[in-house]
């Protein structure tokens, strides 16, 4: 098995204060789950905004790989390939 592909994580504007203002982060990961695990290690403050204590992506967030919501793919086990962009956005909910 070769090295994990490098993908880009696009950081939602409101969350950039938790990763020193970065709008994008590069991680090497084969799946969305692995990308989140990388963030847990490398960007723990950002990670806490994305996932709860149990490790689940917070209920009102949607995770996209390129333009596809991972709920229509394989959830957080969705496979990543080099150059993919992972975007995590608030769902259209709340008041």
């Amino acid at each position: 098995m070769g090295p994990a592909p490098t993908v880009t994580i696009h950081v939602y504007g409101q969350l950039r204060e938790y990763c020193a203002g970065a709008s994008q982060l590069s991680v090497s990961a084969r799946t969305v789950r692995a990308a989140l695990e990388d963030l847990e290690r490398s960007q723990s403050a950002l990670y806490r905004n994305l996932c709860d204590e149990t490790g689940k992506v917070r209920r009102h967030l949607n995770v996209f790989v390129n333009t596809d919501n991972v709920r229509d793919l394989d959830g957080i086990d969705t496979t990543l390939t080099a150059g993919d962009v992972v975007t995590i956005l608030p769902a259209v909910s709340g008041g």
Partner: protein, 372 residues
């Protein structure tokens, strides 16, 4: 304004926390905020130990729970280094922060959360640890959420005694500083179960006490069950209660009120016999007849009088939530309440005369006041 001249209000709303400030006569309040804008705030604390610090829970449904702290009396807030969180292997995830209270040490804070659990910080909110005596209590996985969620909304400390109010769990008492807790609900009724007096599981809405009379406690419980005709029979007047033995047993003091349903309960700062409630219609949780009123007892709940001078006389159907009423500690104290329609009211001279201070804030969850 100089120090020690200021009355400070923290107002937790659906869209952030506001801070209002006035000189002691409380004629005009200046409003600052919102801080943590757009994010619901269910609990605030004005910590007057040493240099005043203001705290607010920032309960972001998207990005999780934060604790905000102000060291400049509400001119600005910053996030603490971390918020309370369950251990990773616990299986529970924080949904909301419902109460913030000072602890024993100068920088110690206690925090009640949803799902009902207790956390403690020893460094002013920068780090938190779960208190297992109640959070892992044998009853904890049996508690059920009330309409507002499964929340620990009341923390009262009295030396080694710690009183907790949980909706829906009931009143829990520790007599060893919070290491262990027992359900302490003798006389506390439940309306939504066949057994009217279970060991635990009551929907306690709020508990209050006077600093100088720690054995006396008042409780606003979930009332409104006088007409129930099902199993267990009617259970009138279970909504407003009093204890004279440090919360080991409770008795009704609801007789004379227009409704025993309500959320907040507040004790006069200079008289442990004077207590305030806001009766609501149980079905709608709004002001009876559309005419809001605070009710006051000056004899520990033996009788009640209606305080409504200056409040609307009709067409007002707001709700006053469990933490949305407080009273300052000045010689002639003023009451304050916030409404779900975004109004902040002041009741001067212990509630004798009411004025609307702010009339268009976001829905108000929480009001706290202190003189700093």
């Amino acid at each position: 304004m100089k120090g020690a001249d200021r009355v400070i209000l923290t107002i937790g709303t659906k869209k952030g926390v506001f801070v209002a400030e006035a000189a002691k006569p409380r004629r005009k309040f200046e409003l600052r905020g919102p801080f943590g804008p757009g994010v619901p705030v269910y609990s605030t604390l004005i910590d007057t130990r040493g240099t005043p610090r203001l705290y607010a829970s920032s309960c972001n449904p998207f990005f999780g729970m934060k604790v905000l702290r102000s060291t400049n009396v509400g001119k600005g807030f910053e996030e603490t280094k971390s918020g309370p969180a369950f251990p990773k292997d616990d299986g529970r995830a924080l949904i909301n922060i419902w109460s913030l209270e000072p602890g024993g040490g100068k920088k110690e804070l206690w925090c009640g959360v949803e799902p009902a659990s207790l956390f403690r910080s020893r460094d002013g909110g920068d780090s938190w640890e779960m208190v297992p005596g109640i959070s892992n209590h044998e009853h904890a996985r049996k508690w059920q959420p009330g309409n507002g969620g499964l929340c620990m909304h009341t923390i009262i400390r009295d030396g080694n005694r710690v009183h907790l109010g949980i909706s829906t769990g009931g009143h829990y008492l520790s007599e060893d500083g919070g290491d262990t807790f027992k359900a302490s609900n003798q006389g506390v009724g439940a309306g939504f179960a066949p057994d009217p007096y279970p060991e635990f599981g009551q929907c306690v809405h709020k508990i209050a006490r006077h600093e100088d009379a720690p054995g006396r406690l008042y409780m606003q419980n979930h009332g409104g069950w006088a007409d129930w005709t099902g199993p267990g029979g009617p259970r009138p007047d279970i909504g407003v209660l009093r204890s004279d033995d440090h919360g080991r047993s409770w008795r009704s003091i609801a007789s004379g009120l227009p409704s025993d349903f309500g959320f907040p309960i507040v004790v006069h700062p200079h008289d442990a016999d004077t207590v305030y409630v806001v009766p609501l219609e149980p079905a709608t949780r709004s002001c009876p007849g559309g005419a809001p009123a605070v009710w006051r007892s000056e004899n520990g709940g033996d009788s009640w009088s209606r305080l409504a001078r200056g409040l609307p006389k009709k067409q007002s159907y707001f709700t006053i939530l469990r933490d949305a009423m407080d009273i300052d500690h000045l010689t002639a104290p003023s009451l304050y309440f916030g409404t779900t329609t975004g109004q902040l009211w002041i009741g001067r001279e212990g509630g004798e005369k009411w004025e609307c201070v702010f009339d268009s804030l976001p829905p108000i969850h929480n009001v706290k006041v202190a003189v700093v």
